[in-house]
């Protein structure tokens, strides 16, 4: 190579650092999806093609909504990063397998539009997008997203009563039909991907090990549920369910690992994350005890999402700051 050859090279000129860990948006999305697979497979094994239908419609319509809206808003199309598909998947896992297809599609569309794109797309949403879509269809078409009646048509090898509805309408004494181990292994009615507590726990641990989430939010979420439930249970153990029941039913486990940990709607500093998780757990139990809704996970997370900008003000100290200011 001659000197002239070298001088004529067109070099890449860019700011430091010049290396990268290799982390990427699609990598993180893929990790979340992989973590959801065990619970999803369990849901499909339980409900068969009904579950497949809901999941595919949700994912497809979320991706289509993203593409259409980004075209419409003249934004670069980023369907390929998988984040829209993940929103669809998370939404589907919260739904009963009996939901009509148009409602699933509508939920996905609302998730992407109101939950994500109006706030500027990925990273901008103040709420977990999937929960916005879920809340919209849950409040508008209650009869379709109802675990009490929708399950009658399925032949499942466990009680077809939704545990949290039993608690709501019949009280804690009626809970003797549910055994903690059955609940833990997913032998309960619920969202098609939220019932397999053991498998969700495995998926959650996978997320932790891969480092895409930290322990703060899930652990404090579960801790918040347990503590609040314990307080109620202590005051009247005949009227209120025990903490273990609360932890093993509804979307608590799913919410702790997959809903509350949504990046843009949760804090980034450790103390704020712990408070965020505790708040989610606290409101979940309050909703279950005092609201008309059997489960309160989604609403609890949405409430804490609103508080997120406030929690973001809690920041760790910058080392050496005082000395610098004194100087």
């Amino acid at each position: 190579m001659t000197a002239q050859d070298l001088q004529s090279r067109k070099l890449l000129f860019s700011p430091a650092p010049h290396v990268h860990s290799g982390a990427s948006i699609s990598g993180v999305v893929l990790t979340f999806m992989v973590a959801l697979v065990p619970a999803l497979v369990f849901g499909i094994m339980t409900y068969g093609m009904h579950a497949v239908r809901v999941v595919s419609v949700a994912i497809a319509s979320a991706m289509a909504a993203e593409w259409i809206l980004q075209k419409l808003f003249r934004q670069p199309v980023t369907v390929h990063d998988g984040s829209a598909a993940l929103v669809g998947l998370v939404l589907a896992m919260l739904l009963p397998p009996s939901v009509p297809w148009w409602l699933v599609a509508l939920g996905s569309f609302v998730s992407i539009l109101v939950g994500k794109q109006v706030f500027g797309g990925l990273g901008g949403s103040p709420f977990n997008p999937a929960l916005i879509g879920w809340a919209a269809i849950r409040l508008s078409w209650y009869e379709h997203i109802n675990f009490d009646f929708s399950m009658v048509q399925y032949d499942v090898p466990f009680p077809i009563d939704y545990p949290l509805s039993v608690l709501k309408w019949s009280g804690a004494e009626a809970l003797t039909q549910f055994h903690a181990m059955d609940l833990f292994l997913g032998k309960q009615i619920g969202g098609l991907g939220t019932t397999a507590i053991l498998l969700l726990l495995i998926g959650g641990l996978y997320l932790l090990i891969r480092g895409v989430i930290t322990w703060h939010i899930p652990v404090s979420f579960l801790g918040g549920v347990a503590l609040t439930a314990l307080l109620f249970w202590w005051t009247d153990s005949a009227k209120y369910a025990d903490p273990v029941f609360h932890l093993l039913t509804g979307s608590v486990m799913f919410g702790a690992f997959f809903l509350a940990t949504d990046y843009s709607s949760s804090p980034a500093n450790s103390l704020a994350m712990v408070l965020f998780g505790l708040g989610c757990g606290f409101f979940t139990v309050l909703f279950r005890v005092w609201s008309v809704y059997p489960d309160g996970v989604v609403f609890a997370v949405l409430i804490m999402n609103i508080l997120n900008p406030l929690l973001d003000k809690i920041r760790p100290k910058v080392p050496g700051k005082e000395e610098r200011e004194a100087a």
């Binding site: 067109k10 070099l11 000129f13 700011p15 430091a16 650092p17 010049h18 860990s21 500027g120 080392p319």
Partner: protein, 399 residues
Amino acid sequence: MRRIFGILPTRLWYESVELPYEEFPVPERAMILVAGEGVTPGKGDRIRSGERIRSAGGAVMGFSPVTGEIEECLDIRWSDGEVYTGLVVATAADEWELPITGGEYLSQSPAEVRSLLAEAGFTVPAAGERVIVSCLERDLLVSTARQALRGGDAAAGLRLLEHLGAGEIVVAVPEDLAEAAAAFAGERVTVVRSYHPYGMAPLLERECGAGTVLGIEELLAMVTALRTGRPFCEKLVTLIDRGGRPVKNLRVRVGTPVSDIIRAYDIPVEDGDRVVLGGPLCGRSISRLDFPVLVDTDAVLVQGHDDIIPIGEGSCLSCGACVRVCPYNLQAHLLSRYVEFSLFERCEDLDIDSCIECGLCAYVCTARRPLVQFIQFGKRELARIKEEEAQEEEEEVTA
């Protein structure tokens, strides 16, 4: 550098292998890079090794590392936005014009030695000041501190510091050099963390207590200057080949064009590759290969275009990876967004000036945002705004 177990904190360890060492010959054509315009001597002048180079205002900007005729004066703009003058010198055999007289310095008074060092362009720690002698690398893949320690007379360096009347002297070393360092520094050795960015001065101060951080190479250069009268003009440089492979430690005359080094070791450079002065996390990329080795260039890094992960164009996800990795607990995710939308005052509330630009936040960023560049830009804009405000106030006072 993909990681499977992301739960473990990011640890980027400094190099601990000893590389083969070579002295690089004086180049045929050197480039002396000086900040500012209108420096003397200029085009057509003959310059001698060790001769002072002055700015338009007459301040000493540096010393010529080579002897020869200045063929050209180039205006060069670098990534910091500043203008530099590149003096291209056709070199000849060294003729020294020494800024100071070398010799036996320990017999002279500390004040005399101090002024000699200042004459030769060194910043000397004040009498009684605590000094941290760093044997740590300043970036990944670099091993110049290790090389300096291996080839130099570190004991003489410590004697010099004692003679200058420095306060407590701490010798900061990575674990594996503790024994070697204890041989000349004894009780003064402090083993510090040897992963990035703990080799950077502010973090060394955090590890060892406040003090002036002095790199081992600079300390040894002071000894050389006092003995020979020569200013700092030979730099240790780690040559890093494609694939992040350090291949050699070189002693290079400052001003040696990068292209000379690359050619001497047959490192292929193609269009779209990146060549960096310094290490992978804090180094600065160059746009032309006649760019020279500078007094603070620890490495010449060549990166093939296949190894380069391009910067992402998307927005921040708020995943918090940058927050977890920051040694100063800064909110890089917020800072970068505030800078993006020109909210510089908010950056000040988030202590943007505490950032030491170690590069870890951008290294881990999921969205691959150029976080360090955002922060650098924010700092500059903030400084500019403050300057303007101060000027306005002054004008009001005079009016």
